[in-house]
């Protein structure tokens, strides 16, 4: 790895830190400064005045703001995100338990969108203005207008309730595979557990497809425009003129250029997927962070929601950092910036 790229990456990491700090500051602002009584929020709707006072004491809400900020930072560094109102357990525990489920769902959705979206986008771009292209474009435009939770409900209605071919919800219908990574599909494969594998796949199908829908539409669109962009570029003309066979031109050169434009989108899409997970998990009863967030909303479990927000933000920033690094590796121009 050249020095140039290394310096670019370290610059990006340097940028990452203040953003993270800013994220923490933002959540602090929203959770401690904006509410009239942060203690009441944390204590929950059912709390008695005594309980609220106790919370105020315990969390130090009566102290001046800068002291509170200090506490907040200290807690975060220790990984203490407070206690969940309803489970009584530490939020960080609840989060880490549910994290693999959301990770699995998000990865599956991302995989689907990429594996389906990129080839479709390329074909669409190469056969511009053909019937296939128009159909795909109509499809993707619609895809961006559909509310994902509604799509999920419709699919549930259709496939699970009417046709009965997919389960209504949940992550698995048989005993879980032995835990290695926490990702059921991977674990089933690693432990040669056929029934678990099958059940996990059946359960993840609908949620993953629903979740992938909007990002798949975006990837297809961007890949297509990337292809169109590249195809008109002078270097394609030059390569053709110098007799490079079209197969080579397409697969080696076009593909790489087009993929680069897609990779730039992946960071953004990941954010969409994270956000979408909240809703999809709710619809399909998928025991991940999203469902956790929803339940916390219903129960007004404030600490839990704060925890989810922080986690989501951190993961999102981290993913963007990784995407930037990846880009620097495959697109030599990026590292110059």
């Amino acid at each position: 790895m050249s020095a140039r790229i290394l310096s670019y990456i370290s610059k990006r990491i340097l940028y990452f830190v203040p953003t993270l700090l800013g994220l923490i500051a933002l959540t602090f602002l929203i959770s401690r400064v904006i509410p009239a009584d942060p203690a009441a929020l944390v204590a929950g709707e059912m709390a008695t005045p005594e309980q609220i006072a106790a919370i105020r004491q315990q969390y130090g809400f009566d102290k001046p703001l800068y002291v509170q900020l200090g506490f907040y930072l200290k807690q975060l560094v220790r990984g203490d995100l407070g206690k969940s109102l309803y489970s009584g357990r530490r939020v960080i525990q609840d989060l880490s338990e549910r994290f693999p489920a959301t990770l699995e769902l998000t990865l599956a959705a991302m995989l689907i969108s990429i594996l389906v979206g990129i080839p479709l986008g390329i074909v669409s771009g190469l056969r511009r203005n053909s019937i296939l292209d128009h159909a795909l474009r109509g499809f993707t435009v619609s895809g961006l207008a559909i509310a994902s939770f509604w799509l999920g409900i419709m699919l549930q209605l259709f496939a699970s309730m009417w046709l009965g071919i997919t389960p209504l919800g949940g992550r698995i219908g048989v005993p879980e595979p032995r835990m290695i990574t926490g990702l059921y599909i991977l674990d089933s494969i690693l432990t040669f557990n056929g029934t678990a594998l099958l059940s996990s796949l059946r359960h993840i199908l609908l949620p993953a497809v629903t979740l992938s829908f909007s990002s798949f539409a975006t990837i297809t669109r961007f890949t297509r425009s990337g292809v169109l962009d590249v195809i008109q570029k002078d270097f394609i003309l030059y390569e053709r003129a110098m007799g490079l066979p079209p197969g080579l031109v397409v697969y080696k050169y076009l593909l790489r250029n087009a993929v680069i434009s897609t990779v730039t989108q992946i960071g953004l899409l990941f954010g969409l997927l994270l956000a979408g997970a909240v809703v999809i998990e709710t619809v399909f009863d998928w025991p991940g962070l999203g469902l956790f967030a929803y339940k916390s909303i219903v129960l007004s479990d404030y600490q839990a929601i704060l925890g989810v927000t922080l986690l989501a933000g951190t993961v999102y920033v981290a993913v963007n950092l990784m995407v930037d690094t990846l880009l620097a590796l495959i697109d030599p121009r990026k590292a110059e910036v």
Binding site: Q232, G243, N257
Partner: protein
Amino acid sequence: MDLNRRETLLAVANLTVHFYTERGVVKALEGAELRVGKGEVVGLIGESGCGKTTMARSILRVLPPGGRIVGGEISFAGKDLLALDEKDLNTSVRGKRITLIPQDPFNSFNPVFSVGTQISDIMKWKGEAGGNKELDENKIREMLGKVQIPSPGDQLKKYPHQFSGGQRQRLMIAMALLPSPNLVIADEPTTALDVTVEAQILRLMSELVRGKEISVLFITHDLGVASEVCERMIVMYAGQDMEDGPAEALFSGPRHPYTVELLESLPNPRGNIRDIPGEVPSLIHPPPGCRFNPRCPAATESCSAERPRRIEVEPGHWVRCFHPVGQKT
């Protein structure tokens, strides 16, 4: 040097090319004719949009989507180029016997691959690669030396954006000459460069081509550049060829009214055609007959009735006009 007696390498006859766009059919070339002899450096000059680049792309048959060769013949070294299929074109013609030096050396390199990769890819597919990696690398290095790129070994690993414009064009020249082609099509090779670099590149090109039997079709809109390198020049206007003759004869005694106007409207005798006033006709609804007739001071009815044929007004000097200009004294 008897320009007439050179054996013909490339002969384009009656070429008509249309572009099908949303706004209508663009008749980019109509009945265009062109001849390049072996070892000859021919300039193709005209205003923007006159069809020079379309001509180049048609010869190589790399028209953009929507473009189609509607009629005419293109023969190269005795072979009918229009009859060849893509596979044959790729293996025996493009990048091998006819090479291209493109207009914009920056955009003609693929930005995400190293320069070395791109050069050797082109070499590989031309069958120039003998399979011996070292031999090929030596060949490439030698050529890079000829185009005055220092320490070629290190340079090959670099990416296009790390080179200057002049260097990139040298690389392009190297790639164009590596396969030992019969014909090099240079499409405005110095337009994207600044003046000082331009002079170097032109000199380099002349030197490299001299003495070898390499023909050059030099497309440009800069008469100064053309006069420096070209032995013969063809003047195009709105998709039609107008005049074709030895460079000196064209400059001292232009016979086509368009060429006359071209030369007169320049601030200096070796100027840049980009600065000519007046409107180029629409290529979607072009004027009938000779497309210059609406602007031509010498035009008569016959000029819009049909297109004039080529007449030889003096040895080696041809004009398409019913009323060619008389000898200037």
